[in-house]
Symmetry: C2
Subunit: 319 residues, 2 copies
């Protein structure tokens, strides 16, 4: 369906002129008004889009499920999705779940109710059994390494990325290594935990539950992490921190407490957000915005596909 | 209209059970299936929501216009809107404009096309003439100090907040004061500029165009600001920085260059984001999330209202 920009292009006038004509605004030259009305005629521009949607079974709306819309990782992913959505005249319906299954189910229900054409789940909570049941109603795209044929996926091999980063710390002389993560469940987190278990057993470092610190999402969580380390009899000398925000919080907190980095504590962040560059934090670069764009294209095109995004370690001053 | 959570509550079963029944999943006890079907019967739960919307003229969708969805200020505002949207069974349609008028007009068009019930414009680009033309199609809520009777507004008195912060810097001995801002146009920015002009003329400090630095939005822009100051023959000794992110970027950059804060450069940020607390940055606290929640309620309730949010200076170590 033509949108206001298409009409402006067809009529050779500005979008605000189209808007004035659509709203029967008096101050429009007869010539321009006629041009716009002809464009509307040509493009069969409708007044009630729900009628259009009902007739053509399309809403031009795409659902996007995120646990937290204000987390830099997800807001950057949304940015990548939003950019392409705009190019393709799609609008995004944002569903913030806080990782609650019922909220994610509401998003899936929107697909079944044809309120959206497709659904991107940036971080999944529902079981694949449930997701699969909804795949028939519209395209579902996940951001995880998942082989289910019912969905398309864009993912990072978190097992390999984590294992490499751990090995890098080991090569730098660390044998007491821990990691900070958002939630401990979830496909990506479980792949990271598997990499950690395989790593410590390969080098006989011993598995220490205390070295895995959960609920690390925001800058301010860095302080919590540092306090936990200080309570440990034998704290880790190095940390993988799955968010640059949290890594930055840890570095800032250590500076205040005169804890030497990397001397007393080595840090590897994830994402390569601007704050990591500014604060000279060694990090694993993840192309979050590009992942968002690819998620959109998979949801838009609809043919099932799997896309692995490449990551790389960026060596800076915190190891 | 009942949603999946309502059905679960009515039937006294879990949301996933409701989902299984809706999808004719085999593994559901006859008893539970009957309970869910009765709930669906009672609540007249429809299969195609577009048909429902067409019949009742409601979409349960609310539009949210933001220039950048990944900016911490707007993503926190979206969080505040999203929280209440969920409580009221509303979904949000996110429209990212990059401050382009045609994109904002598309959002307004969605209102006219009844694709959304109401529209929140977190930062406006279109003229009020245009906004007013669309106010008849649904509630429009703005986040600016605006007396237009066609819309509801939630706002901060940026003139007063800016004037107070400038006075605070003056009382601390600064006479060469500049400020960093996102875009120089826009209601909020113009009110801040007015406060700045009135302030410098009251204290005969002289108006210096170079002291107003635009396009300051993200952490990484802090470096750009510091480089600009270093090029000036007579740089300001104090800056108001309208985003804590940028303020944090400036502080981080100054630490790297051994520029003493507040000795050589005093900084006042805005928002009171967690990073400001962690980095001990003096800032003007703005209740962004609460503003988002109030924007939602105004769009939801629909009766025209004006709500001023209170701000306050938080004294820390950068002045």
């Amino acid at each position: 369906m033509a949108n206001i920009r298409d009409l402006a292009r067809m009529a050779g006038v500005s979008v605000s002129t189209v808007s004035r004509v659509l709203n029967n605004h008096p101050y429009v030259s007869e010539e321009k008004r006629t041009a716009v009305l002809q464009a509307i005629e040509k493009s069969s521009y409708h007044k009630n889009i729900n009628a259009v949607n009902l007739s053509r079974g399309k809403t031009m709306l795409m659902g996007v499920v995120v646990p937290y819309s204000d987390h830099p990782y997800f807001s950057l992913m949304i940015k990548g999705i939003a950019k392409l959505a705009l190019d393709h005249n799609y609008k995004l319906v944002l569903i913030q779940t806080d990782y609650r299954e019922d909220r994610e189910l509401e998003a899936l229900e929107m697909l079944r109710e044809k309120q959206i054409d497709s659904l991107i789940i940036c971080s999944r909570t529902c079981s694949m059994d449930i997701v699969r049941e909804y795949a028939g109603y519209g395209h579902i795209v996940l951001c995880e390494n998942n082989n289910d044929e019912a969905v398309s996926v864009t993912y990072v091999n978190h097992y390999r990325a984590f294992y490499r980063a751990l090995t890098y710390l080991y090569q730098n002389g660390h044998v007491k290594i821990g990691y900070c993560i958002g939630r401990k469940t979830g496909v990506n987190s479980l792949q990271r935990q598997a990499a950690y278990r395989d790593f410590v057993s390969k080098y006989n470092l011993g598995f220490n539950e205390d070295y895995i610190i959960g609920d690390c999402l925001y800058f301010e969580d860095g302080e919590k992490v540092v306090n936990k380390l200080r309570e440990m009899a034998s704290p880790p000398t190095a940390l993988l921190v799955t968010s640059d925000q949290v890594a930055a919080g840890i570095v800032t907190c250590c500076q205040k407490l005169d804890i030497a980095i990397p001397g007393e504590l080595a840090i590897i962040g994830f994402d390569n957000q601007p704050i990591a560059k500014m604060m000279d934090i060694t990090t694993v670069k993840i192309p979050i915005e590009e992942m968002g764009s690819n998620l959109f294209l998979q949801a838009f095109n609809g043919d099932k596909s799997r896309k692995e995004m490449q990551v790389r370690l960026i060596e800076r001053g915190t190891v």
